[in-house]
């Protein structure tokens, strides 16, 4: 949490961008999760959940942001990159962060049902794997959580 204290505005700025991505998902009926990848204080990858739209179970926000960042950097090692995501990652996305060797994961709301950065497992910071990320959680937590709640409430109503 010292990181956040060091530079609170920057972190919120990037999480705000991840929230903009999540809103895009919301507007097309996708579970509203968004993500950005940041390198040298610049966004080099962004994505939102497109599972329903593209009919592909792998197209979560984080996967799309990581793929875009890889294209931007021209390599699969996203060393010194930070990933921001509005909701704690699932096993697939947590695993992709380890595969991509990202430096830091910053997420908004926890996901007690399938979160793998502390809730069910902590796959991104496990010394048995060949890479570990630093985790910062709870950034703009209420905004991230409220967007999810609103989405599922509306869906139940339908």
């Amino acid at each position: 949490m010292n990181i956040l204290r060091m530079c609170p505005i920057l972190k919120r700025e990037f999480m705000r961008e991840a929230l903009i991505e999540a809103q895009k998902a919301y507007s097309i009926g996708e579970v509203p999760i968004g993500s950005v990848v940041v390198y040298n204080d610049k966004i080099i990858g962004r994505g939102h959940n497109l599972r329903e739209t593209r009919k592909d179970p792998t197209l979560h926000a984080e996967i799309m942001a990581i793929q875009m960042a890889s294209r931007a950097l021209g390599g699969w090692r996203l060393i010194d990159c930070d990933i921001y995501v509005t909701v704690e990652p699932c096993p697939m996305c947590a695993g992709a962060m380890v595969q991509g060797r990202l430096r830091r994961l910053i997420f908004g709301a926890s996901d007690p049902k399938s979160g793998c950065a502390g809730s069910i497992y902590n796959l991104v910071d496990d010394n048995r794997f060949n890479h570990r990320l630093e985790i910062v959680s709870g950034i703009m937590e209420s905004e991230c959580r409220d967007l999810m709640k609103s989405f599922f409430k509306a869906r139940r109503y339908k």
Copy 2:
């Protein structure tokens, strides 16, 4: 293991196809892992590791096979699909199998370093997640393992 006893030829036939995919990866200098997705006894998705070639950390064999299968079925729910992979999946790929709601995972060689279908974790058969796969392991294990060993031996020699 009853499944294998029920239909041993079929399983080997599909694992042989996964091995053909792994050989393709080997031939272009990629870690030799291959995968196929089978629906109604037909291969509807196949892939091999392309991480280095396409410079993307998410392009493991299983992700590619799942993406192709989704396109073939026109939906993200790969219910009644089985995935064959030469090596036990990493967290990302194990997670993708749960996301895609596949029925069964059949793998060749275990991966004690990062395998997540029994070695380090078992992410594909965990009742805390919203879907679980049946696991069959050890199919053509020696062929799958030998291909990996040969690849890393040649790489060390280089």
